[in-house]
């Protein structure tokens, strides 16, 4: 079946708007044809990728080519964190040649007109879709948040394609852009009493393993769950499985006052108790941890409220000798923390802020063997990626482990 095109799309394909929109539209067209999309949908925002750790030289050449052809984002386009902390890579010991590649990527997306937030939480730094909006986001945790918490619509947009959607302002209408593909198919009942923030991470990890690529609907999660807690749930589920959309009965918009199963019976239903959560939590610590040397938090990026909470926990304390504590957050949130006096408290305790960066997609310029985190997604990725032992626990226990 041929893809239906409107006049603007035909004009882009002919090259009326220049070479970059033509190339972007051609790539989108090939994808639409392959996957049987009937038409395109306009997108209101894009979240792309420009980190050297995943893009490599090929992705750099792709973005530089589009920039050299005069390509311009026609909708607000943000991007995932960078592969080095952009303002302090040198003092933290990142490799100069590697940082130079990251800087070339930064230059290319600046020329392409992206909004330089460098964050996996665009929703915390000004890119907030409305309910029902079509967007093209790439970062898996942000995709989950947009689809599930906000009720906007996006697939897991491939790195390298997101920039095409940004330049052309559209994406093939397929999979999660279509109503019928957003129905829940499996059900998870949480029966574990009061849930801590760590519990949301743990449930996310269990959810990804259970659901895989299926769409789950959960019960037993209160509508007082915070934005940060749902951020962790989605990020963890997207790291242990490929969950791009989940529903929570009575909480998330597509299951708030309607049946996310649309009258169908779930293909599979499970109930997880406190014992199940405790077992999953324990399994996230690797087998042979040594003494905790380094705490890493902020995956996804810490919000201002998490920074403020952390400041309360460490007020009057100091890092023990030879210990390190890194927090990943956006530049904007760091600046807000500065204004609030929160940053001074964190610095006083010896905590290092790595704005714009993320350890999942960056080198680890340290030789510590055992790290600790409060993030399910970090727990999923860091042990295999950086060949370290990892302890998984609450932020309170992270603080206890390395401060006095």
């Amino acid at each position: 079946m041929a893809v239906k095109l409107n006049k603007e799309e035909e004009a882009m394909l002919r090259g009326d708007h220049g070479e970059a929109p033509k190339i972007a539209m051609e790539v989108l067209m090939r994808l639409a044809t392959a996957f049987g999309a009937e038409e395109f949908v306009p997108v209101s925002s894009v979240q792309a990728m420009a980190h050297y750790g995943s893009l490599h030289d090929a992705g750099l050449e792709w973005l530089e080519k589009l920039a050299a052809l005069g390509g311009q984002c026609c909708v607000p386009t943000t991007q995932d964190p960078a592969s080095v902390p952009l303002d302090k890579w040198e003092s933290l010991g990142f490799d100069g040649a590697y940082a130079a590649k990251q800087k070339r990527l930064a230059q290319a997306i600046k020329e392409l007109g992206e909004v330089l937030t460098w964050s996996c939480t665009p929703f915390n730094v000004g890119s907030i879709p409305r309910f029902g909006d079509n967007v093209a986001w790439a970062e898996s945790s942000a995709v989950s948040y947009a689809n599930s918490v906000i009720g906007a619509r996006t697939n897991r947009t491939p790195a390298g394609l997101a920039i095409c959607a940004a330049i052309a302002g559209r994406i093939p209408k397929e999979r999660l852009y279509l109503d019928e593909n957003r129905t829940a198919t499996v059900k998870v009942n949480i029966d574990a009493g009061t849930l801590s923030t760590l519990d949301y991470n743990t449930i996310g990890i269990m959810l990804g393993k259970f659901a895989g690529t299926r769409i789950p609907a959960l019960t037993g999660i209160p509508n007082t769950a915070s934005s940060d807690q749902l951020k962790y749930l989605g990020a963890s589920a997207a790291s242990s499985g490929s969950v791009a959309l989940y529903h929570i009965l009575g909480v998330t918009p597509e299951a708030f006052d309607r049946d996310p199963f649309k009258g169908n019976k779930p293909a599979e239903e499970v109930t997880w108790t406190r014992q199940d959560l405790a077992a999953a939590e324990q399994a996230l610590t690797t087998k042979n941890p040594g003494e905790i040397e380094h705490v890493v938090v902020g995956c996804p990026h810490y919000s201002i409220w998490e920074l403020k909470t952390l400041a309360k926990l460490v007020a009057g304390k100091k890092l023990k000798k030879n210990k390190e504590f890194w927090v990943y957050t956006p530049f904007e949130t760091e600046s807000l923390a500065q204004r609030m006096g929160v940053l001074d408290v964190l610095k006083e305790a010896g905590i290092q802020i790595l704005a714009s960066n993320c350890l999942v997609i960056s080198p680890y310029p340290r030789s510590h063997k055992t790290l600790m985190t409060d993030s399910g997604k970090f727990a999923s990725y860091l042990p295999s990626e950086h060949h370290i032992e990892l302890v998984y626990g609450s932020i309170e226990n992270c603080v206890k482990a390395v401060t006095e």
Partner: protein
């Protein structure tokens, strides 16, 4: 010699032929294939250590992050990409890796999925495979036994 013909869904066009490399395990390109050598670098995969370069790569489906496409693209940039990819189910992440390899490096690596027979049962490592990505037709010549 006997050949077996499979019919599938054309995802990325092009006509190539080569030797099959069949992984019964799903493949993760992000951190799971090392672009400078083209070797699978993933302890969860039985073919760990095997190069995908110039193979007709057959595997069930992809797993892993949205950066799959740029990890694939980097492997093609090094000249270490497969000649073609045959999946049970392909996702956009895989398709974009091959489409951008064509746009940037003029490398044709057809992709076909959703076959009328299970490619993981029909095709074995070492078989000679002709892939027509325009029509979604794959011709398999079994390797000589013994």
């Amino acid at each position: 010699m006997d050949t077996i013909v499979l019919k599938g869904r054309p995802i990325v066009g092009g006509v190539v032929e080569g030797e099959a490399l069949v992984s019964q395990d799903p493949l993760v390109w992000s951190h799971g294939v090392y672009p400078p050598t083209g070797k699978i670098n993933d302890v969860r995969v039985k073919l760990n250590g095997t190069s995908v370069k110039d193979k007709i790569l057959v595997y069930p489906y992809g797993k892993g992050s949205t950066s799959t496409s740029t990890w694939m693209l980097e492997t093609f940039r090094y000249g270490n990409g497969p000649k073609a990819i045959l999946n049970k189910e392909t996702e956009g992440l895989i398709a974009i890796g091959s489409i951008l390899a064509d746009v940037l490096y003029k490398i044709t690596a057809p992709i076909v999925d959703r076959f009328d027979q299970d490619p993981l049962l029909v095709i074995e490592t070492g078989d000679w495979v002709k892939v027509d990505g325009n029509k979604g037709i794959v011709e398999v010549t079994k390797k000589k036994q013994g």
